[in-house]
Symmetry: D3
Subunit: 339 residues, 6 copies
Amino acid sequence: MTHTLVCFGELLLRLGAPDRELLLQSPRFDVHVGGAEANVAISLARLGHSVRMATVLPDNPLGDHALGELRRHGVDTRAVQRGDGRMGLYFLATGAGVRPSEVLYDRTGSAFARAAPDAIDWQHALDGADWLHLSGVTPALGSNGAKAAQRAADAARARGMQVVFDGNYRSRLWQAWDGDAPTILRGLLGCADLAFADHRDIAVVLGHEAHGNTPRERFVSAAAAAFAALPQLQRIASTVREQHSVDHHTLSALLCTRDGDLVTAPACTLTSIVDRIGGGDAFAAGVIHGLRRNMTDADSLHFGLAAACLKHSIPGDFNRVAEADVAAFVADGRLDVRR
Amino acid sequence: MTHTLVCFGELLLRLGAPDRELLLQSPRFDVHVGGAEANVAISLARLGHSVRMATVLPDNPLGDHALGELRRHGVDTRAVQRGDGRMGLYFLATGAGVRPSEVLYDRTGSAFARAAPDAIDWQHALDGADWLHLSGVTPALGSNGAKAAQRAADAARARGMQVVFDGNYRSRLWQAWDGDAPTILRGLLGCADLAFADHRDIAVVLGHEAHGNTPRERFVSAAAAAFAALPQLQRIASTVREQHSVDHHTLSALLCTRDGDLVTAPACTLTSIVDRIGGGDAFAAGVIHGLRRNMTDADSLHFGLAAACLKHSIPGDFNRVAEADVAAFVADGRLDVRR
Amino acid sequence: MTHTLVCFGELLLRLGAPDRELLLQSPRFDVHVGGAEANVAISLARLGHSVRMATVLPDNPLGDHALGELRRHGVDTRAVQRGDGRMGLYFLATGAGVRPSEVLYDRTGSAFARAAPDAIDWQHALDGADWLHLSGVTPALGSNGAKAAQRAADAARARGMQVVFDGNYRSRLWQAWDGDAPTILRGLLGCADLAFADHRDIAVVLGHEAHGNTPRERFVSAAAAAFAALPQLQRIASTVREQHSVDHHTLSALLCTRDGDLVTAPACTLTSIVDRIGGGDAFAAGVIHGLRRNMTDADSLHFGLAAACLKHSIPGDFNRVAEADVAAFVADGRLDVRR
Amino acid sequence: MTHTLVCFGELLLRLGAPDRELLLQSPRFDVHVGGAEANVAISLARLGHSVRMATVLPDNPLGDHALGELRRHGVDTRAVQRGDGRMGLYFLATGAGVRPSEVLYDRTGSAFARAAPDAIDWQHALDGADWLHLSGVTPALGSNGAKAAQRAADAARARGMQVVFDGNYRSRLWQAWDGDAPTILRGLLGCADLAFADHRDIAVVLGHEAHGNTPRERFVSAAAAAFAALPQLQRIASTVREQHSVDHHTLSALLCTRDGDLVTAPACTLTSIVDRIGGGDAFAAGVIHGLRRNMTDADSLHFGLAAACLKHSIPGDFNRVAEADVAAFVADGRLDVRR
Amino acid sequence: MTHTLVCFGELLLRLGAPDRELLLQSPRFDVHVGGAEANVAISLARLGHSVRMATVLPDNPLGDHALGELRRHGVDTRAVQRGDGRMGLYFLATGAGVRPSEVLYDRTGSAFARAAPDAIDWQHALDGADWLHLSGVTPALGSNGAKAAQRAADAARARGMQVVFDGNYRSRLWQAWDGDAPTILRGLLGCADLAFADHRDIAVVLGHEAHGNTPRERFVSAAAAAFAALPQLQRIASTVREQHSVDHHTLSALLCTRDGDLVTAPACTLTSIVDRIGGGDAFAAGVIHGLRRNMTDADSLHFGLAAACLKHSIPGDFNRVAEADVAAFVADGRLDVRR
Amino acid sequence: MTHTLVCFGELLLRLGAPDRELLLQSPRFDVHVGGAEANVAISLARLGHSVRMATVLPDNPLGDHALGELRRHGVDTRAVQRGDGRMGLYFLATGAGVRPSEVLYDRTGSAFARAAPDAIDWQHALDGADWLHLSGVTPALGSNGAKAAQRAADAARARGMQVVFDGNYRSRLWQAWDGDAPTILRGLLGCADLAFADHRDIAVVLGHEAHGNTPRERFVSAAAAAFAALPQLQRIASTVREQHSVDHHTLSALLCTRDGDLVTAPACTLTSIVDRIGGGDAFAAGVIHGLRRNMTDADSLHFGLAAACLKHSIPGDFNRVAEADVAAFVADGRLDVRR
């Protein structure tokens, strides 16, 4: 039974200002659990996959809550460690109109960031698993994170598992500890069969600039460079986002394969966006869903884009949709009240 | 004194997830009272009409609340019976963007559905009344409902009252008890002077398909068939709704008369829709208002469409607008803060 | 040290229905502090200016709260008097879609309105100040207000201060006491170096109709008349607002100088508007900020328009943005999550 | 059909700080409708009586809300006038432990206070009524209120109705307009068959000090003086309240009859008090209920005390209990969950 | 590995009025998941036991939520079936002072009540389990429930498991379907090793009245009769509750063993009770915890009483305490802030 | 002008579970600003004193909020520095009945804790000040804090200011960095004229055990030792708290002077406690108020105890009472609604 997907990364609590207010305009925070890799884990669990989360949480009620949320959504938590340190937090003021959303990270000293590179027993954590999902957030957290991510990727490769890597490049995190992002990320991306990355992510790793006048041209150029440099890599996918206002985007998606096929998913207009956080993770989960379900690349990309679009309508970091919801949107896009 | 309009139908409690969340994403429900016919009753009461509600409510605090809401808005409750059974409920997750709203009905075993066909004493309930309003929801609830609705329509006809019938065809309700929808609905529609119905409603009743490439052509085709088959019927009206996203619709309206006139109300764009539930009931109430106030068909249709548009901006099932609000929107459409 | 700007006007409590509801649809009010001149004061304090508020508040917990809000935002409150009377209130039902927002004023008998014309000791209140900001709301409150505003303007002129006057014409307030608006407002506008006014405000004061087919032509025509009649006046500025729906506006801005220059700021589209109240005050504060920082007229107008646009995304009357927020919007308009 | 009880008095909106906070500690008010006489009206309506409210409300959404609350609870509103002026408000910070609740009245200039003494057409308002209920709040509001209350009492006496007068002496209101409280109140009390008053209320009216070392002795002394001075008066009743903390009271009740009987209701301990406002009105309504239902004086007093005790457990000004709730408490006082 | 405890029973959603209000006094419900047996399951899971829930839930978002809550707290859900029917609901108005809490059940037609007696595959559900917990609620739901409970008890007995039965006698449920409570309950109690029951529960089953003037004497008398009639039974335990007010109870506990020992736990005073629902289930879970951890009967009873006391301080049906919380309360009862 | 009191210490954000819930039982936190010394500062500012806060806050919206709260309450913020690091947080689950409140500190790495010992320019910060208030929390935060507190105390002593030291011993904080609490605290206590400390605080510093069977005897014994060891010390005060339940305390107070006088304030019973956090700080502020206003020691102690009692009724860390509120409680203790 080797059909479990393992996600490795940090969970955070989001403390958000209610009702489009600025932080502490009212003396209240609404709380959501998030984290790029946990978002993928929960999306996939809700889409019906067997998913396991590997992470380190503090041994306090905040860690208990994050753990409980994983369990609630059906994620296997046997590979969750409890460790010294804080719960990582982020504060969010959701924007509106012409005011962008603002994130204030407060994750220094978290149990995940402080965990030793061998905190997770990968023998145990990958038992019965066939896919591993990682993102560029973990190595950006510091030397521990960088080593831990590479250990995870190596362990998965050694087992012949599929490895997914989501770029998620955050320059501010890397600057905070002066990490050598290109070298570290290249090590991880080199293990990946499937990458979620745009031309900027690729540029960081390979140090070359993508050519082209359109997002599509730049993506194709970057993908070609990536396939050339990274022999393990089979597919690269990315969303293309155009932002007319904070609440009004156009979202499309691209996927390149090693043998040079470019697959595109047509643009979807998103108005009255409820919560944009986690949109990229929903996309990744949707594409992974398709591939694991043996859909074609094109259908997987469509499914991923549809999942990402639906995420924008749901409060919180998680994409709480079922497979039938995404399928219905892909199939007919009927928008009237379902009753 | 024969100037009261009587509405007959079930009241429900809506238990809604707050702030565009999915059901029970937060452990809280916001509560509204609704029900197609009660929505019409309350709209008309707020527009200044003498309105009476005939219904059956459970004898518990939930029924008390529904009754109190009717009274609060000035609806006459002398024809409200209390009976055995539950309060009918529906759970609502209001959608956003590309995610449709979802209704979960929980109305089985309600006091209204369990009430005997003669639970309402129509002699008493119609006393002093000149109009009766019914909808297709009541006969869909089961054999009791179907018989009760027909008794009401027959009593009204016998008194020479005007009868209004709003299609509101809900296939899931009919399937639940295997009811003979065409026969039952034809009986009711055959009593109506004024019907709110689109070509699909008519098709169910008359078993014929409307022709035409546009909503307008299909409506005209269906209306012709209806007038041919139903000699009592004088007017059919319907909205035409185009949904660009869950929060962004275009709404227009059509009305056909027995002598073949087609009246149209120009399309209105609705953005940032707050609550779409009850929009059709607001339209019906608005058209009825116009006709009872001896407006022309065109003005009545305009008034109905304007009322429906305003409803989309108001949380809850009821259209809590006054005549002056609708008139101002019809007259000038000024949108700036009123102070 | 003469670098303080003094604002003179009434503070109000806004009691607002939550979540786009009508007043008392739910039994709750959300409370914000507001008032045209206080909005300017707080905007400017947050933009880094030394600002003082001159006003009269009741000596009760409601007045304490308004005073505390001024202090919280760093406004100097040494010129705040406490007096007999109520706290002025206004009730707000924020509109949506095609339903306009509705304001119900409840400010009769307020401590500010009841204060004697000499309640503020202007010798003390203007100490160390170089700018005074007034608006047309204060003289509209009654004879006391009209006299008090003129005293303030005269005292500022006598000290050689810059005087700013924001039209804010409210016909309902003038009608309530039968005040001679043209004469009183001309006295105040005659003291102003900088005015915020559109052609309708100018028409009230000068009794002439502006010519032109576009807002721009009418503004230029009105400005020419104003400069001709009011020798002290150096600049007039105004926003131009086009309302597609209650939540969707296009906003641009115009500024004329005495020597005939017309400066324009290009239109900005505002969708999913959160709170339109205080938009004009945010504009005024932004333009004043630019002028006090020795920006060009064009940059000042741009800054003012950008500040006004951002205000539409923030709940409450105050524009809680920092200079960097406005500058970022002017510079690049990047809308994605800032993290 | 002369079995309706009419209450005459002002309705107020209570704007309360949530969760035992001080006013505006959080920027929110919870809203309740109240007013001494309306509280009695609603209590009695819920206890099954035919009740009519005579009052004057402003013609705005706040007045509409108060009117709607009366209707919701089944109070006949045919004698409600709409008039110029504000909605009377009061702000409430509910205390706890050793911190008393604080009321900030904001009722100056209300539509009720500004109404002419003949605003209510008593011929119409008392039609079909057999009891009138008034309180000392109305005459305390000013000369208009004093005259209006006397007109009401005179009209009721002229019709041979029973008149109930609840002392509710508020010295601050009388001082505000320098009203001659003893004379005015004596006029009203002179019309009453039943009075709710303690020895302090009687002292104000009759100008004599009650004797005695206990509340009971002082009440008997005052009652004797009242019966001597006021030949119409048949019964006086009062609660006796001992306050151990703001949330912990002991409540008992006394009633004297003209023929010298003293009836007592044994003390009830109230812990964890939820809302003390309206306790006296609930008592009055309970006693009136008993008398109108032809209970003995002792049973009426018991019923009134039980109703008052239950009120302390209910948020808001109204005593939202049914007759069965009070009867159950009187009968067995069982406190466990009812299921 | 036979160390899992299985609980069998219905889960319900509690829809509660907020802040001690009556039902629908504000248009909002706070939601909790509950159910006597699920409460025991979750208590034991939080106390560190391996617990499995056997139940039937509807296949809709309400059932999903209940399932997710079980998982969140670490309860094994492999024996949860999804079936046709509604989610069982109950509405709660939490009382205060002298006003009792009121429960309005709305569980007719639930998926659990409609499930066939063999809906649960007990071979699968009891796999690896050594204890089974049932209560008197399930057989009271109707013939299906009565049969299903007996099947569960028989299957457990056949496997040599320990069976726990909690009386939870609800006369209103039995009356609704005219069930033969004594016979059915005797069948279940006859399978039990451990029973939670007071003298009234025993009287229902055995049809004899307990003797004695105190709760203790009556409990001992009833226990003796039970041991005589039911040879399998080893222990009976019960709380003794004295209610001074709705928020102020005294709670003690008694346990009798087959060999005649009476163990008592000294009374604990509970003031400012937050939520009394689930107190008995918390007691049962605490006693079971002690017995499964091989504590003495006395220590188990103490632990159970302490757990029950703590439950009264926690909102919702579940006793969300850890073993350390109960142990600390038993050990020292220190009440000051833990920091 | 040397009449300002300076408080030095850290500000924290409290993130509290609402409505007596456990942490994250609902996904929401209510936010309050707190910190022992800031609580004293705000109490004294509200009591009418000139107060300045010296602290270090992060330069982000959370730090802005804390700063704004100081300003709102009228505390002078000129000595507030902004520094690198986080905002210190604490999570609070307020207990009830037999469940103690739980605090989860999350203050590691805060801007205050990371600030260099000379981060505050004491020359500037103490300008015009005559009193300095410190507590044992600051030195417990680490070596930086210990040095900074001593610098502050030395600077104040050098200026001949009065120094107040509140013990606030927190063993968990000292253990976290292995600080030499006795030596460090003795250095600070040695500078103090007035100390708030009980016999345990004194035992930590002087290493001797207090004698006596009652709190009073132990306090007298400890005070004698303190006066013997610390020649600067003039007064020691302490509350004596007896906890009957989490919501029901008895609070009294003791004060010893160097010349051997023992002053006592009689016990006050506190039921239905709303928020116990900050009670000790409210006491300290009340005693300081009395001494600075030249009350007798006995009156100062009474005032302090009264202030502390009132604090228990107010949500949040701050004692938001005015001098008149405390005086009224001391004078008559009238508990009825003030209107």
